[in-house]
């Protein structure tokens, strides 16, 4: 039997993410030492590369929210595993090292648009030191595909 945790311990202004307790406010990240942070590159839908830093232990959704990255519609359900809008595509070597996927995440991945074999939900991926310098891609959106198809560039 597990002991009952009290949600009360989640103080106001904190979000209990897949990675544990994390600050909703990023103000204190400025005081972190550089070794507590890792660099992450996001390739946005338009191909633009966004390079940013995240705190070890934060989820990739936390990084996008805290750094206010301009990724349209990302993380709509705030990490509660009700949608798949924080879908990200990883390089194979990083993908293999990620924490195991849960049933609930797999169920939501089933509903993700543009799924690949190295897809995961950003809200479930917690930054670790070994991820320093990794690149993750935001899958193309429905609108992008429509335009590509129209130009005879229908993806397979």
């Amino acid at each position: 039997m597990i002991s009952k945790q009290t949600p009360l311990r989640t103080l106001r202004g904190q979000r209990h993410t897949a990675c544990g307790f994390s600050r909703a406010f990023s103000s204190s990240t400025g005081t972190l030492r550089s070794e507590d942070k890792v660099t992450v590159h996001f390739i946005n839908r338009d191909g633009e590369k966004i390079t940013t830093e995240g705190k070890i232990g934060d989820s990739l959704l936390d990084v996008v929210v805290n750094k206010n990255l301009d990724i349209d519609g990302f993380g709509a359900c705030e990490g509660t595993l009700a949608c798949s809008t924080c879908h990200l595509i990883f390089d194979e070597n990083i993908f293999k090292q990620l924490d195991p996927v849960t049933d609930e995440e797999m169920d939501m991945l089933d509903l993700a648009y543009g799924l690949t074999e190295t897809s995961r939900l950003g809200c479930q991926i917690c930054l670790s030191k070994s991820m320093n310098g990794m690149t993750v891609s935001v899958p193309e959106g429905v609108a992008d595909v429509r335009q590509a198809a129209d130009m005879g560039l229908t993806p397979s």
Binding site: I2, T6, D72, A76, C83, M106, V142, R146, A149
Partner: protein, 540 residues
């Protein structure tokens, strides 16, 4: 699986249907991939030619132009009136959904008096609509609910609220009861209720002539579901599984039954003009009476918790507790908002869970070989006597499969609703902003192209061969998808999984020899049309 290659292909041609919007389940989606804004015009817009690039490949009609609603097929208004009001189509909404899909195609229009509805019975179109949602999606017109609340000075809750009011409350509540990790801590509370359920089964069957049968199992599961959801929402036990149910809980059950017995009238109460209430006052009066009963019950439990907290604070004690305690202490919502949300979440969390548990027990009883395989899996992983907790369920993929397969065959909400927040081209038709959509989950769930051998109960179809195995499953989304999906999904899954495992550990479930096959009827929710009588036989 096929999803990798099929993303853009239009597979799964189906049906459609219409469906009413029922309460329950707070459904959905995200501000994602929107189509460019076209214009905001009234429904029944004139035909409009759009640039090709605005359309999804699957949405492109052969003629290469976008069609208007006028060109959309569908039953005649008069035919529909006869079907529903004369031939009691309301109880067959799920079947009419399938029938209309076969007749008119996967997208069609219907009129219900003043209400115009476009039905969509295709998993790709459903996906398109849900993926394009705004930040605060609207399910249906909830005017009658809002009117009651205004009349009594009550707040709206997750089901009845819209826009920013809804989003604010959803943001608070989803951080407490949606994440699997947060819900897993309720395992011991739910198990305590399951223990009482098992005891009650023993007690009830001992009163039967054969010492094994429990008649009308949904009656028992209703009490289990109510007790379970209340233990999480109110952090309190109601006593529904005792042989003598406390008066207060009986009164609540009566109010709940009144609410559902009025489904037909209240559902469309909003569609009945207010002036008609002078001539036909009963539906509105009963509607208000049942809400009075539901609110009263919530208020009693919330106020009780509030005074307990006050006493602890006065005594200088540290206040600890669960969901309700947190809401009352954090003051992220007003007390009126807490009353409203507790009322609406309890309302949404009882029949939905009990019907699903009834159907899954029934299906397992009707399929002894499947039941044996599920039981073997439980014994292999947990043994016969160890009560499961949430974390164990990942080792029991067939139990998850049973729940998913049950909800595919008997989705408690046979359809869901969405009000278009902007113009969009769906299935080749321009659907103007403000149009009421019916997403026909019942029809898509029975499509062979989505689910091979769709009529058969096969929980193993949901079991993944490995972590890379994907199921393209927009054809069956019983809890909805996205930011307005059912907020009680994880709680419901926990209640269903834990109860099923322990019932199977204790009993072999058989159909009573005197039972005839039970079909479904729509009564707000998809429910058993006749009592389900089951035999609970001790495991050797």
């Amino acid at each position: 699986m096929s999803i990798f290659t099929n993303i853009l292909q239009n597979s799964c041609r189906k049906t459609l249907l219409l469906e009413p919007e029922s309460f329950h389940m707070l459904c959905n989606v995200a501000n994602f991939h929107r189509l460019p804004k076209l214009s905001s015009q009234a429904p029944a817009a004139e035909e409009k030619v759009l640039p090709e690039m605005l359309m999804q490949p699957q949405a492109r009609p052969k003629e290469g132009r976008v069609k208007s609603l006028k060109e959309m097929p569908g039953p005649k208004t008069f035919t529909n009136l006869v079907e529903f009001f004369w031939r009691d189509g309301f109880s067959r909404i799920h079947e009419i959904q399938q029938q209309h899909t076969k007749q008119y195609g996967k997208i069609f229009k219907s009129h219900f008096g003043p209400q115009f509805v476009v039905s969509i019975a295709d998993k790709d179109m459903v996906a398109q609509v849900l993926r394009a949602e705004s930040e605060a999606p609207q399910r249906a017109n909830m005017e009658s609910w809002k009117e009651y609340r205004d009349l009594r000075g009550r707040a709206t809750g997750l089901i009845s609220a819209e826009g920013q009011d809804w989003l604010k409350m959803r943001s608070v509540l989803r951080q407490k009861i949606m994440k699997p990790k947060d819900v897993a801590v309720f395992s011991s509370d739910v198990n305590a209720v399951v223990t009482d359920l098992i005891k009650r089964i023993h007690s009830l069957r001992s009163q039967a002539a054969d010492g094994k049968t429990v008649n009308n199992i949904n009656d028992l599961y209703f009490k289990y579901a109510m007790e379970g959801v209340a233990s999480i929402l109110y952090e309190a036990r109601l006593g529904c599984l005792q042989s003598e149910i406390p008066q207060q809980s009986l009164e609540y059950i009566a109010a709940l039954h009144l609410m559902f017995s009025m489904f037909k009238t209240t559902m469309y109460a909003g569609a009945i003009p207010k002036w008609l209430r002078i001539i036909i006052p009963k539906p509105w009066i009963e509607f208000c009476n049942s809400w009075d009963g539901l609110f009263k019950f919530s208020q009693i439990h919330v106020d009780k918790k509030l005074s307990e907290i006050q006493a602890q604070l006065d005594a200088g004690e540290e206040v600890e507790g669960g969901l309700l305690t947190h809401l009352l202490v954090s003051k992220e919502m007003t007390v009126e908002e807490i009353y409203a949300n507790m009322t609406e979440m309890l309302l949404a969390g009882v029949d939905t869970t009990s019907f699903t548990l009834s159907w899954s027990s029934y299906l397992l009883a009707r399929h002894p070989q499947v039941q044996q395989a599920v039981y073997d899996e439980v014994v292999r992983n947990l043994g016969r006597y160890q009560a499961p907790i949430a974390e164990d369920i990942s080792q029991l993929p067939l139990i998850r499969g049973v729940v998913k397969e049950t909800l595919r065959l008997f989705p408690v909400l046979p359809g869901n609703g969405r009000v278009m927040h902007e113009d969009m081209v769906v299935g080749g038709y321009l659907i103007p902003k403000g149009t009421q959509l019916a997403l026909c989950h019942y029809s898509t769930s029975y499509e062979d192209e989505c689910f091979p051998a769709a009529l058969e109960f096969r929980p193993e179809r949901w079991v993944r061969k490995d972590n890379m195995d994907r199921v393209d499953n927009f054809g069956s989304i019983p809890f909805g998808y996205g930011i307005r999906s059912c907020i009680g999904k994880r709680v419901a899954e926990l209640e269903l999984h834990l109860a099923l495992v322990q019932m199977l550990q204790n009993f072999r479930i058989d159909v009573s020899p005197h039972s005839k096959p039970v079909h479904a009827k729509t009564h707000g929710l998809l429910s058993p049309a006749a009592p389900i009588n089951l035999r609970f036989v001790d495991r050797e």
